[in-house]
């Protein structure tokens, strides 16, 4: 009997669970030095297994577990394989980093750390299980396992009330999403007969109203996890609350599980899409992206900035998914494949650069115990490793070539601009607007990243004693280096990546991009035709390196020795302090002014005669007041009405059940012949 990818993947999942359980037993120091590297190794193995499975066909397995008559089904196809690869690749970098990151916690809070190992391993294992589950029941079990383990990871520092609140909000949204998913699977199965296995659902197609309802429920359920617009509120709260490697896992990998779920339901289980589904997704996704990036640009908390940027990136991904759905519904499979490839590529890229940045933010946070940008600055001098590796991350996130963020956004832009003839003429006219939003989002993301990097790493420190700040250790360097290497390689060899993505797009929309994209050799990427657009990152990279090198050499050669040191013109100020630098708030000020209508802005501007001026400004999410608070008030009112029933007298309570009994009996009598 030969080993198959699914067996390997199943063993890895069990291995993760086993290592987690082991973490409860062995001492914390051993857990950190031994178990986390083992988890890392298993993640790397998972990446390999995923890549292996990406080459083959579907493979199924029925486990002898589960409810009576409802065994657990496993299935590995190329879609699962792609996301398993993502999980393994990003997971191994993050776990390696975590080995070093949790050193302090393992020494001071051994008990908490032992629980953390278990939850961390379970989190990874449940995400992997979500990807291979092949019936609705098992899927929901894994999905909830993922939500619960991440909830407990988010509330690792549960002594802090703000973190408990963030955790509660996260749990609430996760449950709302899970209810929507439960109903969605119920609708998918309705009338199919038999069990809830995906194989049954696949052959059973819904039509008309119920099909649209299923789509909407899936959108709510997975959208709540992905941070789609009105359901995004947990994301900027929960990500900063979690320990940084966990934030990296959640943002880099867990959000992609929502994408996987949407792809699975929309392209695999549900039948032919209606045209407005795609349009809705494109609209909501673009809005989410714009909203997220605007809020990212005005944050001054480093992790909150990254969390809002995750909202933005998920928005881009989902808008691309909407585009895929739109083209797929209209039968334009080539363009659909292009958009889908862009979506998958961006998902992979986001896992790498956002993971990298969260790890970088974690290092800063760990070294300085400060997450407010207003207090940071000048860290490049004491944390050169973090600064250097984060630079790769921010360049990728800002979408600059030759790094990986550029290539996927560029592909998405191509998909927008290609504009085949859709049956709805007005959509043809509106879609370029999406491209404009994409461009705006890209520019604002660049702005946010300049702010992130400039304020934290450049300039002078704003109140920290830099001498006490240390750079990261070996494990952290390895973890961040792994993620940065991923950003670079994914950016430099796009045609190889697209060839791998081809197997997925072939299965989902029946078309591939590889044939045309790699037509001009592995050096060039031409998504549609050479006459339209082509891109060669390696040549671009070489040009950048050569021109920078030549300039450097030229300056050294011709100007060396001819400069002199003199005091700079001080603008009339005899002295300068670090507080005169541009601050995080100050840098975001233009955005705050221009997009004021987007923000719930409250500002206190001191009077000009105040001897101790104090400037305070707060940016609130307006959707919180528009969507959530009315809901909370409504529920509150309803609960108060129920509270009237609570009289405290047993006789009254007995009377309630008595009258209910009588009413029901009377009802039964009425139905009898």
């Amino acid at each position: 009997m030969s080993l198959l990818p699914l067996d390997l993947i199943g063993s890895i999942l069990i291995g993760w669970g086993g290592l987690g359980l082991l973490g409860l037993v062995v001492p914390a120091r051993w857990g950190r030095c031994l178990l986390f590297p083992l988890i890392t190794g298993l993640s790397a193995l998972m990446a390999g297994a995923g890549l292996w499975a990406l080459q083959g066909g579907a493979q199924t397995l029925v486990l002898p577990m589960g409810l009576p008559g409802m065994p657990f089904h496993l299935r590995l196809d190329v879609l699962s394989a792609f996301f398993l690869t993502l999980l393994g690749l990003a997971g191994s970098g993050i776990s390696a980093y975590a080995t070093g990151y949790f050193r302090h916690m393992a020494e001071t809070r051994a008990g908490d750390f032992q629980r953390l190992i278990l939850l961390y391993a379970l989190f990874l294992a449940s995400m992997g299980t979500v990807l291979v589950a092949d019936d609705a029941y098992f899927f929901m079990v894994a999905w909830e396992g993922m939500a619960l383990s991440s909830y407990f990871l988010v509330t690792t520092d549960h002594e802090i009330p703000a973190i408990r609140d963030a955790g509660f909000l996260y749990l609430l949204m996760a449950h709302l999403g899970a209810i929507a998913l439960l109903l969605c699977f119920g609708l998918l199965q309705s009338g199919a007969g038999g069990d809830y296995a995906f194989a049954t659902l696949r052959h059973h197609s819904l039509t008309g109203f119920w099909s649209s309802m299923t789509f909407l429920l899936a959108l709510i359920g997975f959208g709540a996890k992905a941070g789609l617009l009105p359901l995004h509120s947990w994301l900027p709260e929960a990500h900063p609350a979690a320990p940084s490697p966990v934030s990296a896992l959640m943002s880099g990998i867990m959000l992609k599980m929502a994408l996987y779920g949407l792809l699975r339901v929309l392209f695999d289980l549900l039948g032919q899409p209606l045209w407005w589904w795609g349009a809705l997704l494109v609209g909501l996704g673009s809005l989410t992206a714009l909203f997220g990036v605007l809020f990212a640009a005005v944050q001054s908390d480093i992790k909150r900035l990254l969390a809002w940027s995750s909202v933005e990136n998920m928005g881009l991904i989902l808008s691309g998914l909407g585009l895929t759905l739109l083209f797929h519904g209209a039968g334009q499979e080539t363009v659909a494949a292009l958009a889908l490839a862009a979506v998958l590529y961006h998902a992979l890229n986001h896992a790498f650069f956002k993971g990298l940045l969260f790890l970088g933010a974690g290092s800063v946070l760990h070294a300085t115990a400060e997450r407010n940008m207003a207090k940071l600055g000048g860290l490049i001098r004491v944390m050169p490793w973090v600064a250097g590796l984060s630079l790769i991350g921010i360049l990728s996130l800002a979408g600059l070539p030759p790094f990986n963020g550029f290539i996927s956004e560029w592909l998405l832009l191509q998909a927008y601009l290609l504009r085949p003839d859709l049956p709805q003429p007005w959509l043809n006219m509106v879609l370029p607007l999406g491209a404009a939003v994409l461009a705006l989002v890209g520019a604002l993301a660049g702005f946010a990243m300049v702010k992130f990097y400039g304020i934290i790493f450049l300039g002078q420190t704003r109140g920290l004693v830099l001498g006490e700040v240390h750079d990261i250790g070996l494990w952290e360097r390895f973890g961040m280096g792994w993620m940065a290497l991923g950003c670079v390689l994914l950016g430099l060899f796009p045609s190889s990546v697209i060839l791998q993505l081809d197997t997925v797009t072939h299965v989902l929309v029946g078309q591939g991009l590889g044939a045309s994209a790699a037509r001009h050799g592995w050096l060039w990427v031409t998504p549609v035709a050479a006459s339209r657009a082509s891109y060669s990152p390696l040549i671009l990279f070489a040009v950048i390196v050569v021109s920078v090198g030549l300039t450097f050499l030229g300056v050294r050669r011709f100007f060396h020795g001819r400069w002199r040191r003199a005091p700079a013109w001080d603008c009339g100020y005899p002295f300068q302090t670090a507080r005169m630098q541009d601050s995080a708030d100050g840098f975001g000020q233009p955005i705050k002014q221009i997009f004021e209508s987007f923000f719930g802005l409250s500002r206190e501007i001191p009077s000009p005669f105040d001897p101790h001026p104090h400037y305070h400004s707060e940016v609130r999410d307006p959707l919180w007041g528009l969507c959530y608070l009315p809901l909370v008030r409504g529920v509150d009112r309803l609960v108060k009405m129920v509270g009237v029933l609570q009289q405290g007298r047993i006789s009254i309570y007995l009377l309630f059940s008595f009258t209910t009994l009588l009413a029901l009996l009377a009802l039964v009598t009425g139905t009898l012949p």
């Binding site: 509270g643 609570q646 009289q647 405290g648 007298r649 047993i650 006789s651 007995l654 009377l655 008595f658 009994l661 009588l662 009996l665 009377a666 039964v668 009598t669 009898l672 012949p673």
Partner: protein, 224 residues
């Protein structure tokens, strides 16, 4: 008549027992003294026992004899004895105050009996058992016991009401389906016993906390 057919007589006897049960239910509803209430409860248990034994004889269902013996032991002997000891230990032999006055309670009770007979009528048509006439009475005694729990202010009469309700349910089960499976009956009997013990413990706890068994004191436990 060459040989005497016992069926019509047993049938008449069964109806007699059922109506006695209903009568006792009414008596309990109107009774203000706790000691008498316990005696009435014991009588009701005895009537129930006889009624079950009678049905067993009538329908040749041997397992009904077991449940008759079970009822006799638990409901006629053990529970009244326990209740007796309980009220002596708690020293609560006072008269029972009711929330609604007795005549009104009785009038409502009559309404309940009419309702349950009306309810049982269509069901009796379906039922193939010989005991179908008693279903209405069983339902009525369930509702009357429930009513008693509602109208009493002290904890002990409420518990007696609960136990009497269980009697009515037993009768309903016997009359509709020739009794429940033995396992279920044993389970229910055990439940009643355990419930009785728990109630007893609660009584002491309640009295310790509030210095009284009047459940009005528990009204302030609700959330403001």
């Amino acid at each position: 008549m060459s040989h005497w057919n016992p069926a019509p007589f047993a049938q008449q006897l069964l109806d007699l027992f059922a109506s006695l049960l209903l009568l006792i239910a009414f008596a309990m509803l109107s009774q203000r003294r706790i000691l008498t209430l316990i005696h009435l409860f014991a009588w009701q248990g005895l009537i129930l026992t006889l009624s079950i034994a009678d049905s067993a004889w009538l329908t040749h269902q041997p397992h009904l004899y077991y449940s008759a013996v079970l009822t006799l032991i638990i409901k006629v002997l053990i529970l009244p004895l326990l209740l007796h000891r309980l009220i002596r230990r708690l020293d609560v032999v006072w008269d029972v105050e009711t929330l609604i006055n007795i005549p009104t309670t009785m009038l409502v009770g009559i309404g309940l009996v009419v309702f349950s007979f009306n309810l049982a009528l269509p069901i009796s048509h379906f039922s193939s058992t010989i005991l179908r006439n008693t279903l209405g009475i069983a339902l009525a005694s369930v509702l009357l016991s429930f009513m008693m729990m509602i109208t009493r202010r002290k904890a002990v009469p409420q518990v007696i009401g609960f136990l009497a309700l269980e009697n009515g349910l037993f009768l309903a089960a016997t009359s509709a389906t020739y009794g429940m499976p033995m396992v279920v009956e044993l389970g229910v009997a055990l439940d009643v016993l355990v419930g009785m013990f728990i109630f007893g413990i609660f009584f002491f706890q309640i009295r310790e906390t509030f210095d009284s068994l009047d459940i009005r004191h528990m009204e302030k436990l609700k959330e403001e």
